[in-house]
Protein backbone atom coordinates (compact mmCIF):
# COMPACT_ATOMS: atom_id res chain seq x y z
CA UNK A 1 0.00 0.00 0.00
CA UNK A 2 3.00 2.28 0.43
CA UNK A 3 4.50 4.65 -2.10
CA UNK A 4 7.14 3.23 -4.46
CA UNK A 5 10.64 3.96 -3.23
CA UNK A 6 9.48 4.56 0.33
CA UNK A 7 9.70 2.16 3.25
CA UNK A 8 7.40 2.03 6.20
CA UNK A 9 8.92 3.56 9.32
CA UNK A 10 6.15 3.49 11.90
CA UNK A 11 2.42 3.17 12.37
CA UNK A 12 1.03 6.39 13.81
CA UNK A 13 -2.61 5.38 14.13
CA UNK A 14 -4.27 1.99 13.87
CA UNK A 15 -7.96 1.30 13.31
CA UNK A 16 -8.92 2.12 16.91
CA UNK A 17 -6.66 5.16 16.92
CA UNK A 18 -8.40 6.60 13.86
CA UNK A 19 -11.81 5.91 15.39
CA UNK A 20 -10.90 7.60 18.68
CA UNK A 21 -9.38 10.62 16.94
CA UNK A 22 -12.55 11.12 14.87
CA UNK A 23 -14.77 10.69 17.94
CA UNK A 24 -12.79 13.38 19.76
CA UNK A 25 -12.93 15.74 16.76
CA UNK A 26 -16.72 15.21 16.54
CA UNK A 27 -17.07 16.23 20.21
CA UNK A 28 -14.81 19.24 19.71
CA UNK A 29 -16.81 20.40 16.69
CA UNK A 30 -20.06 20.24 18.67
CA UNK A 31 -18.52 21.98 21.67
CA UNK A 32 -16.84 24.77 19.73
CA UNK A 33 -20.00 25.49 17.74
CA UNK A 34 -22.33 24.99 20.70
CA UNK A 35 -24.35 22.41 18.82
CA UNK A 36 -24.85 21.68 15.16
CA UNK A 37 -27.16 24.51 14.14
CA UNK A 38 -26.28 25.66 10.60
CA UNK A 39 -23.28 23.36 10.50
CA UNK A 40 -22.12 21.50 7.38
CA UNK A 41 -19.18 19.21 6.65
CA UNK A 42 -17.28 19.34 3.36
CA UNK A 43 -14.70 16.66 2.65
CA UNK A 44 -11.83 17.31 0.24
CA UNK A 45 -11.52 14.51 -2.32
CA UNK A 46 -10.43 11.83 -1.98
CA UNK A 47 -9.77 10.84 1.62
CA UNK A 48 -11.49 13.85 3.15
CA UNK A 49 -14.72 12.37 1.83
CA UNK A 50 -14.94 9.21 3.99
CA UNK A 51 -13.61 11.19 6.96
CA UNK A 52 -16.37 13.81 6.57
CA UNK A 53 -18.99 11.07 6.32
CA UNK A 54 -17.71 9.40 9.48
CA UNK A 55 -17.63 12.68 11.38
CA UNK A 56 -21.22 13.39 10.30
CA UNK A 57 -22.27 9.97 11.55
CA UNK A 58 -20.57 10.48 14.90
CA UNK A 59 -22.02 13.97 15.30
CA UNK A 60 -25.43 12.51 14.46
CA UNK A 61 -25.03 9.85 17.16
CA UNK A 62 -23.96 12.38 19.77
CA UNK A 63 -26.42 15.17 18.99
CA UNK A 64 -29.26 13.25 17.38
CA UNK A 65 -29.25 15.64 14.44
CA UNK A 66 -28.18 15.23 10.83
CA UNK A 67 -25.40 17.46 9.53
CA UNK A 68 -25.30 17.85 5.74
CA UNK A 69 -22.15 16.56 4.03
CA UNK A 70 -20.62 17.75 0.77
CA UNK A 71 -17.58 16.74 -1.25
CA UNK A 72 -15.14 19.09 -2.90
CA UNK A 73 -12.82 18.49 -5.85
CA UNK A 74 -10.16 21.21 -5.73
CA UNK A 75 -8.20 20.28 -8.86
CA UNK A 76 -9.32 23.37 -10.81
CA UNK A 77 -8.18 25.60 -7.95
CA UNK A 78 -4.68 24.17 -7.48
CA UNK A 79 -1.74 26.53 -7.93
CA UNK A 80 0.59 23.80 -9.19
CA UNK A 81 -1.36 22.34 -12.12
CA UNK A 82 1.16 23.39 -14.73
CA UNK A 83 3.96 21.69 -12.81
CA UNK A 84 2.28 18.31 -12.72
CA UNK A 85 2.74 15.52 -15.21
CA UNK A 86 -0.32 14.12 -16.94
CA UNK A 87 -3.31 16.20 -16.01
CA UNK A 88 -5.27 15.11 -12.95
CA UNK A 89 -8.67 13.69 -13.73
CA UNK A 90 -11.38 15.98 -12.45
CA UNK A 91 -13.99 14.69 -10.05
CA UNK A 92 -17.35 16.17 -9.31
CA UNK A 93 -17.90 18.65 -6.56
CA UNK A 94 -21.06 17.64 -4.72
CA UNK A 95 -22.28 20.24 -2.26
CA UNK A 96 -26.05 19.70 -2.30
CA UNK A 97 -26.86 22.53 0.10
CA UNK A 98 -26.28 26.30 0.08
CA UNK A 99 -23.10 27.17 1.97
CA UNK A 100 -24.13 30.79 2.48
CA UNK A 101 -24.52 31.67 6.18
CA UNK A 102 -23.49 28.18 7.30
CA UNK A 103 -20.50 27.22 9.38
CA UNK A 104 -18.57 24.88 7.11
CA UNK A 105 -16.16 22.33 8.56
CA UNK A 106 -13.60 21.52 5.89
CA UNK A 107 -12.25 17.97 6.34
CA UNK A 108 -9.02 16.51 4.97
CA UNK A 109 -6.74 13.63 5.87
CA UNK A 110 -3.33 15.32 6.07
CA UNK A 111 -2.53 19.00 6.60
CA UNK A 112 0.91 19.73 5.13
CA UNK A 113 1.88 22.83 3.13
CA UNK A 114 -1.60 24.37 3.36
CA UNK A 115 -1.92 24.74 -0.43
CA UNK A 116 -4.73 22.21 -0.71
CA UNK A 117 -6.65 24.04 2.00
CA UNK A 118 -6.09 27.39 0.28
CA UNK A 119 -7.50 25.92 -2.94
CA UNK A 120 -10.45 24.47 -1.01
CA UNK A 121 -11.17 27.85 0.61
CA UNK A 122 -11.31 29.48 -2.84
CA UNK A 123 -13.56 26.70 -4.13
CA UNK A 124 -15.99 27.07 -1.22
CA UNK A 125 -16.08 30.85 -1.55
CA UNK A 126 -17.14 30.43 -5.18
CA UNK A 127 -20.12 28.38 -4.03
CA UNK A 128 -21.40 31.04 -1.64
CA UNK A 129 -20.50 33.03 1.46
CA UNK A 130 -20.24 30.83 4.55
CA UNK A 131 -20.56 32.44 7.98
CA UNK A 132 -17.30 30.74 8.94
CA UNK A 133 -15.03 27.98 7.70
CA UNK A 134 -13.22 25.71 10.15
CA UNK A 135 -10.65 23.08 9.32
CA UNK A 136 -10.43 19.50 10.56
CA UNK A 137 -7.45 17.30 9.66
CA UNK A 138 -6.78 13.75 10.78
CA UNK A 139 -3.02 14.39 10.73
CA UNK A 140 -1.09 17.67 10.93
CA UNK A 141 2.45 17.01 9.79
CA UNK A 142 3.73 20.60 9.80
CA UNK A 143 5.85 22.25 7.05
CA UNK A 144 3.28 24.94 6.32
CA UNK A 145 3.98 27.22 3.33
CA UNK A 146 0.88 29.37 3.92
CA UNK A 147 -0.57 30.91 7.09
CA UNK A 148 -3.16 28.21 7.63
CA UNK A 149 -3.87 26.20 10.77
CA UNK A 150 -6.38 23.53 11.66
CA UNK A 151 -9.15 24.01 14.23
CA UNK A 152 -9.36 20.27 14.88
CA UNK A 153 -6.44 17.83 14.61
CA UNK A 154 -6.57 14.07 15.10
CA UNK A 155 -2.84 13.82 15.71
CA UNK A 156 0.10 16.15 15.35
CA UNK A 157 3.02 14.34 13.74
CA UNK A 158 6.26 16.27 13.35
CA UNK A 159 7.88 14.96 10.17
CA UNK A 160 10.90 15.64 8.03
CA UNK A 161 10.30 16.59 4.42
CA UNK A 162 11.89 13.28 3.36
CA UNK A 163 9.04 11.44 5.00
CA UNK A 164 5.50 11.01 3.82
CA UNK A 165 2.34 10.29 5.75
CA UNK A 166 0.11 7.65 4.25
CA UNK A 167 -3.48 7.64 5.47
CA UNK A 168 -5.20 4.40 4.50
CA UNK A 169 -8.94 4.10 4.96
CA UNK A 170 -11.23 1.14 4.47
CA UNK A 171 -13.33 3.04 1.89
CA UNK A 172 -10.46 4.10 -0.35
CA UNK A 173 -7.60 1.71 0.45
CA UNK A 174 -9.12 -1.43 1.94
CA UNK A 175 -7.39 -1.04 5.31
CA UNK A 176 -7.36 1.33 8.26
CA UNK A 177 -4.10 2.85 9.43
CA UNK A 178 -1.88 5.88 9.26
CA UNK A 179 1.78 5.14 8.62
CA UNK A 180 4.89 7.22 8.25
CA UNK A 181 7.18 6.28 5.40
CA UNK A 182 10.62 7.51 4.39
CA UNK A 183 12.87 7.22 1.38
CA UNK A 184 15.48 4.57 1.31
Amino acid sequence: MGHPGFREKATILDRDGIRRALTRIAHEIIEKNQGVQNLALIGIRRRGVPLALRLAEKIGQIEGAQVPVGFLDITLYRDDLTRLGPQPQLSRTEVPFPVTDRTVILVDDVLYTGRTVRAALDAIMDLGRPRAIQLAALIDRGHRELPIRADYVGKNVPTSSREIISVQLEDTDGQEQVVIQETG
Partner: protein
Protein backbone atom coordinates in the same frame (compact mmCIF):
# COMPACT_ATOMS: atom_id res chain seq x y z
CA UNK B 1 -0.95 8.90 -23.82
CA UNK B 2 -1.99 12.52 -23.59
CA UNK B 3 -3.61 14.10 -26.63
CA UNK B 4 -1.62 17.10 -27.85
CA UNK B 5 -4.10 18.58 -30.36
CA UNK B 6 -7.78 18.12 -31.12
CA UNK B 7 -7.81 17.98 -34.90
CA UNK B 8 -10.50 15.39 -35.55
CA UNK B 9 -12.22 12.34 -34.16
CA UNK B 10 -11.57 9.99 -37.08
CA UNK B 11 -8.31 8.72 -35.57
CA UNK B 12 -8.95 9.50 -31.92
CA UNK B 13 -9.05 6.51 -29.58
CA UNK B 14 -12.33 6.00 -27.71
CA UNK B 15 -10.43 6.34 -24.41
CA UNK B 16 -9.33 9.87 -25.34
CA UNK B 17 -12.89 10.78 -26.35
CA UNK B 18 -14.13 9.44 -23.01
CA UNK B 19 -11.55 11.50 -21.14
CA UNK B 20 -12.84 14.70 -22.75
CA UNK B 21 -16.41 13.80 -21.83
CA UNK B 22 -15.63 12.78 -18.25
CA UNK B 23 -13.87 16.06 -17.62
CA UNK B 24 -16.80 17.96 -19.13
CA UNK B 25 -19.06 16.82 -16.27
CA UNK B 26 -17.37 18.89 -13.54
CA UNK B 27 -17.07 21.75 -16.04
CA UNK B 28 -20.83 21.72 -16.52
CA UNK B 29 -21.24 22.13 -12.76
CA UNK B 30 -19.19 25.32 -12.93
CA UNK B 31 -21.33 26.94 -15.62
CA UNK B 32 -24.48 26.27 -13.63
CA UNK B 33 -23.18 28.19 -10.60
CA UNK B 34 -23.66 31.86 -9.76
CA UNK B 35 -19.91 32.37 -9.98
CA UNK B 36 -19.02 30.82 -13.33
CA UNK B 37 -15.29 31.02 -13.02
CA UNK B 38 -12.38 28.95 -11.76
CA UNK B 39 -8.75 30.11 -11.72
CA UNK B 40 -7.38 27.05 -13.55
CA UNK B 41 -6.00 28.73 -16.71
CA UNK B 42 -5.07 32.07 -15.15
CA UNK B 43 -2.26 33.68 -17.10
CA UNK B 44 -2.84 31.54 -20.21
CA UNK B 45 -3.94 32.95 -23.55
CA UNK B 46 -6.28 31.30 -26.01
CA UNK B 47 -6.27 32.65 -29.57
CA UNK B 48 -9.31 31.98 -31.72
CA UNK B 49 -8.61 32.27 -35.44
CA UNK B 50 -11.77 32.29 -37.48
CA UNK B 51 -11.37 32.35 -41.24
CA UNK B 52 -15.09 31.73 -41.62
CA UNK B 53 -17.91 33.61 -39.93
CA UNK B 54 -19.24 31.93 -36.82
CA UNK B 55 -21.02 33.33 -33.84
CA UNK B 56 -21.90 30.41 -31.65
CA UNK B 57 -18.77 28.30 -31.95
CA UNK B 58 -16.46 31.26 -31.39
CA UNK B 59 -18.56 32.49 -28.47
CA UNK B 60 -18.64 29.01 -27.00
CA UNK B 61 -14.85 28.67 -27.12
CA UNK B 62 -14.41 32.20 -25.79
CA UNK B 63 -16.74 31.61 -22.86
CA UNK B 64 -15.08 28.27 -22.14
CA UNK B 65 -11.70 30.01 -21.96
CA UNK B 66 -13.03 32.86 -19.82
CA UNK B 67 -14.78 30.51 -17.37
CA UNK B 68 -11.36 28.91 -16.83
CA UNK B 69 -9.78 32.39 -16.35
CA UNK B 70 -7.75 32.33 -19.59
CA UNK B 71 -7.39 35.50 -21.64
CA UNK B 72 -8.74 35.36 -25.17
CA UNK B 73 -7.69 37.03 -28.38
CA UNK B 74 -9.97 36.81 -31.39
CA UNK B 75 -8.59 37.08 -34.89
CA UNK B 76 -11.00 37.07 -37.79
CA UNK B 77 -9.73 36.86 -41.31
CA UNK B 78 -11.31 36.64 -44.69
CA UNK B 79 -10.19 33.53 -46.48
CA UNK B 80 -10.65 35.14 -49.87
CA UNK B 81 -7.97 37.72 -49.18
CA UNK B 82 -5.16 35.29 -48.67
CA UNK B 83 -3.75 32.37 -50.55
CA UNK B 84 -4.09 29.31 -48.36
CA UNK B 85 -0.42 28.41 -47.94
CA UNK B 86 0.57 31.99 -47.23
CA UNK B 87 -2.28 32.57 -44.86
CA UNK B 88 -1.33 29.71 -42.62
CA UNK B 89 2.33 30.63 -42.57
CA UNK B 90 1.35 34.17 -41.63
CA UNK B 91 -1.05 32.81 -39.08
CA UNK B 92 1.62 30.70 -37.47
CA UNK B 93 3.87 33.74 -37.13
CA UNK B 94 1.04 35.82 -35.69
CA UNK B 95 0.21 33.15 -33.17
CA UNK B 96 3.80 32.90 -32.06
CA UNK B 97 4.03 36.67 -31.75
CA UNK B 98 0.83 36.87 -29.71
CA UNK B 99 2.25 34.44 -27.19
CA UNK B 100 -0.71 32.11 -27.48
CA UNK B 101 -0.88 29.02 -25.30
CA UNK B 102 -3.54 27.36 -27.48
CA UNK B 103 -5.05 28.13 -30.88
CA UNK B 104 -8.61 27.45 -31.96
CA UNK B 105 -8.83 27.45 -35.74
CA UNK B 106 -11.80 27.54 -38.05
CA UNK B 107 -10.81 27.43 -41.68
CA UNK B 108 -12.63 26.80 -44.97
CA UNK B 109 -9.96 24.33 -46.09
CA UNK B 110 -9.99 20.76 -44.88
CA UNK B 111 -6.71 19.92 -43.16
CA UNK B 112 -5.79 23.50 -42.27
CA UNK B 113 -5.64 22.76 -38.51
CA UNK B 114 -3.35 19.79 -39.19
CA UNK B 115 -1.02 22.08 -41.12
CA UNK B 116 -1.11 24.72 -38.37
CA UNK B 117 -0.40 22.07 -35.74
CA UNK B 118 2.86 21.29 -37.52
CA UNK B 119 3.82 24.96 -37.68
CA UNK B 120 3.20 26.12 -34.12
CA UNK B 121 4.48 24.86 -30.83
CA UNK B 122 1.16 25.04 -28.98
CA UNK B 123 -1.97 22.83 -28.98
CA UNK B 124 -4.36 23.41 -31.88
CA UNK B 125 -8.11 22.80 -31.71
CA UNK B 126 -10.07 22.31 -34.90
CA UNK B 127 -13.25 24.40 -34.73
CA UNK B 128 -14.35 23.26 -38.18
CA UNK B 129 -12.20 22.74 -41.27
CA UNK B 130 -14.00 22.95 -44.58
CA UNK B 131 -16.24 19.96 -45.15
CA UNK B 132 -13.94 17.74 -43.08
CA UNK B 133 -14.46 17.70 -39.28
CA UNK B 134 -15.94 19.63 -36.39
CA UNK B 135 -14.74 17.51 -33.49
CA UNK B 136 -15.97 19.60 -30.55
CA UNK B 137 -19.49 19.57 -32.02
CA UNK B 138 -19.45 15.77 -32.21
CA UNK B 139 -18.07 15.58 -28.65
CA UNK B 140 -20.87 17.80 -27.35
CA UNK B 141 -23.45 15.76 -29.28
CA UNK B 142 -22.13 12.56 -27.71
CA UNK B 143 -22.02 14.21 -24.27
CA UNK B 144 -25.62 15.43 -24.66
CA UNK B 145 -26.88 11.99 -25.70
CA UNK B 146 -25.03 10.23 -22.88
CA UNK B 147 -26.40 12.69 -20.36
CA UNK B 148 -29.89 11.35 -21.20
CA UNK B 149 -28.91 7.79 -21.96
CA UNK B 150 -25.60 6.72 -20.39
CA UNK B 151 -25.50 3.46 -22.37
CA UNK B 152 -25.87 4.29 -26.04
CA UNK B 153 -25.55 0.69 -27.22
CA UNK B 154 -28.26 0.06 -29.82
CA UNK B 155 -29.62 3.62 -29.92
CA UNK B 156 -30.85 4.37 -33.43
CA UNK B 157 -29.81 7.87 -34.43
CA UNK B 158 -31.04 9.35 -37.68
CA UNK B 159 -29.09 12.27 -39.18
CA UNK B 160 -31.11 14.20 -41.77
CA UNK B 161 -29.74 16.89 -44.01
CA UNK B 162 -26.92 18.06 -46.21
CA UNK B 163 -24.40 15.30 -45.56
CA UNK B 164 -22.19 16.39 -48.42
CA UNK B 165 -21.24 19.72 -46.89
CA UNK B 166 -21.54 18.81 -43.22
CA UNK B 167 -18.40 18.50 -41.12
CA UNK B 168 -20.67 17.98 -38.12
CA UNK B 169 -22.11 14.87 -39.73
CA UNK B 170 -18.64 13.58 -40.63
CA UNK B 171 -17.29 13.91 -37.09
CA UNK B 172 -20.41 12.25 -35.72
CA UNK B 173 -20.27 9.43 -38.27
CA UNK B 174 -16.69 8.72 -37.21
CA UNK B 175 -17.42 9.03 -33.51
CA UNK B 176 -20.86 7.69 -32.63
CA UNK B 177 -20.74 4.11 -34.01
CA UNK B 178 -17.75 3.48 -31.73
CA UNK B 179 -20.06 4.06 -28.77
CA UNK B 180 -22.67 1.60 -29.98
CA UNK B 181 -24.94 4.10 -31.75
CA UNK B 182 -26.68 2.73 -34.83
CA UNK B 183 -26.30 5.66 -37.22
CA UNK B 184 -28.72 6.14 -40.12
CA UNK B 185 -28.33 8.95 -42.62
CA UNK B 186 -30.94 10.65 -44.78
CA UNK B 187 -30.30 13.11 -47.59
CA UNK B 188 -31.21 13.70 -51.21
CA UNK B 189 -28.88 11.48 -53.27
CA UNK B 190 -27.11 14.58 -54.60
CA UNK B 191 -26.10 15.53 -51.04
CA UNK B 192 -24.64 12.15 -50.07
CA UNK B 193 -20.85 11.88 -50.35
CA UNK B 194 -19.46 8.70 -51.84
CA UNK B 195 -18.26 5.88 -49.61
CA UNK B 196 -20.40 6.59 -46.56
CA UNK B 197 -21.75 3.05 -46.24
CA UNK B 198 -18.21 1.79 -45.73
CA UNK B 199 -18.15 3.66 -42.41
CA UNK B 200 -20.69 1.35 -40.81
CA UNK B 201 -23.73 3.58 -41.28
CA UNK B 202 -26.95 3.10 -43.27
CA UNK B 203 -27.94 5.62 -45.93
CA UNK B 204 -31.56 6.34 -46.89
CA UNK B 205 -33.15 8.61 -49.49
CA UNK B 206 -36.36 9.35 -47.59
CA UNK B 207 -36.84 10.29 -43.92
CA UNK B 208 -39.88 8.00 -43.83
CA UNK B 209 -37.61 5.01 -44.44
CA UNK B 210 -35.16 5.89 -41.67
CA UNK B 211 -37.29 7.28 -38.86
CA UNK B 212 -39.24 4.22 -37.61
CA UNK B 213 -37.64 3.08 -34.34
CA UNK B 214 -35.34 6.09 -34.08
CA UNK B 215 -34.39 7.08 -30.51
CA UNK B 216 -32.77 10.32 -31.62
CA UNK B 217 -32.96 12.51 -34.70
CA UNK B 218 -30.25 14.98 -35.59
CA UNK B 219 -31.21 17.61 -38.14
CA UNK B 220 -28.49 19.40 -40.09
CA UNK B 221 -28.76 22.97 -41.23
CA UNK B 222 -29.48 23.37 -44.93
CA UNK B 223 -26.45 25.44 -45.82
CA UNK B 224 -28.17 27.77 -48.24
CA UNK B 225 -24.89 29.49 -49.07
CA UNK B 226 -23.64 26.14 -50.38
CA UNK B 227 -26.67 25.34 -52.52
CA UNK B 228 -25.67 27.38 -55.55
CA UNK B 229 -24.47 24.28 -57.39
CA UNK B 230 -28.02 23.10 -58.10
CA UNK B 231 -27.76 20.02 -55.91
CA UNK B 232 -31.36 20.43 -54.77
CA UNK B 233 -34.23 21.71 -56.95
CA UNK B 234 -35.20 24.41 -54.48
CA UNK B 235 -35.45 25.10 -50.78
CA UNK B 236 -39.21 24.70 -50.62
CA UNK B 237 -39.08 21.30 -52.22
CA UNK B 238 -36.30 20.28 -49.83
CA UNK B 239 -38.47 21.43 -46.93
CA UNK B 240 -41.44 19.46 -48.22
CA UNK B 241 -39.45 16.23 -48.61
CA UNK B 242 -36.89 16.40 -45.79
CA UNK B 243 -37.98 18.82 -43.05
CA UNK B 244 -38.41 17.21 -39.65
CA UNK B 245 -42.03 18.03 -38.87
CA UNK B 246 -44.52 16.61 -36.40
CA UNK B 247 -45.82 14.09 -38.87
CA UNK B 248 -42.39 12.64 -39.56
CA UNK B 249 -41.42 12.76 -35.86
CA UNK B 250 -44.46 10.58 -35.15
CA UNK B 251 -42.68 7.78 -37.03
CA UNK B 252 -39.81 7.79 -34.51
CA UNK B 253 -40.09 6.48 -30.95
CA UNK B 254 -42.43 8.63 -28.82
CA UNK B 255 -39.52 9.66 -26.59
CA UNK B 256 -37.05 10.30 -29.41
CA UNK B 257 -34.65 13.19 -28.86
CA UNK B 258 -34.33 16.00 -31.37
CA UNK B 259 -30.93 17.58 -31.96
CA UNK B 260 -29.61 20.33 -34.20
CA UNK B 261 -26.10 21.82 -34.27
CA UNK B 262 -27.53 25.27 -35.02
CA UNK B 263 -28.13 27.82 -36.24
CA UNK B 264 -31.55 26.55 -37.33
CA UNK B 265 -33.51 27.49 -40.42
CA UNK B 266 -36.91 27.14 -38.80
CA UNK B 267 -39.54 26.03 -41.25
CA UNK B 268 -36.96 24.70 -43.70
CA UNK B 269 -35.09 21.74 -42.22
CA UNK B 270 -37.04 21.68 -38.95
CA UNK B 271 -40.58 22.68 -38.00
CA UNK B 272 -40.76 25.16 -35.12
CA UNK B 273 -42.98 22.92 -32.97
CA UNK B 274 -40.45 20.07 -33.27
CA UNK B 275 -37.52 22.36 -32.49
CA UNK B 276 -39.29 23.60 -29.36
CA UNK B 277 -40.81 20.23 -28.39
CA UNK B 278 -40.40 18.47 -25.07
CA UNK B 279 -37.80 16.06 -26.46
CA UNK B 280 -35.64 18.71 -28.11
CA UNK B 281 -32.08 18.81 -26.75
CA UNK B 282 -31.03 21.81 -28.81
CA UNK B 283 -30.47 24.24 -25.94
CA UNK B 284 -28.76 21.47 -23.94
CA UNK B 285 -26.36 21.10 -26.85
CA UNK B 286 -25.44 24.78 -26.65
CA UNK B 287 -24.80 24.65 -22.88
CA UNK B 288 -22.93 21.37 -23.13
CA UNK B 289 -20.81 22.84 -25.91
CA UNK B 290 -19.26 25.26 -23.43
CA UNK B 291 -18.64 22.49 -20.87
CA UNK B 292 -17.06 20.18 -23.44
CA UNK B 293 -14.84 22.98 -24.77
CA UNK B 294 -13.75 23.80 -21.21
CA UNK B 295 -12.69 20.17 -20.83
CA UNK B 296 -10.83 20.33 -24.15
CA UNK B 297 -8.95 23.48 -23.13
CA UNK B 298 -8.16 22.03 -19.71
CA UNK B 299 -6.83 18.74 -21.03
CA UNK B 300 -4.81 20.24 -23.88
CA UNK B 301 -3.30 23.14 -21.95
CA UNK B 302 -2.40 21.66 -18.60
CA UNK B 303 -0.02 19.02 -17.49
CA UNK B 304 0.79 17.69 -20.91
CA UNK B 305 3.12 14.80 -20.45
CA UNK B 306 5.58 15.84 -23.17
Amino acid sequence: MPVRHLLGLADMPAAAINEFLENALPMKQIISRDIKKVPTLRGKTVVTLFYEPSTRTRMSFELAAKYLSADTVNVSASASSMAKGESLADTARTVAALGADLVVLRHPSAGAPHLLARMVDVPVVNAGDGMHEHPTQALLDLFTLRERRPDLEGLKLVIIGDLLHSRVARSNIWCLPRFGVDVHLVAPPTLVPAGLAALGVTVHDRPEDALPGAGAVMVLRLQRERQQEGLIPDVREYARLYALNGERMALARPDAYVMHPGPMNRGIEIAPDVADGACALITDQVTNGVAVRMAVLYLLMLGRGD
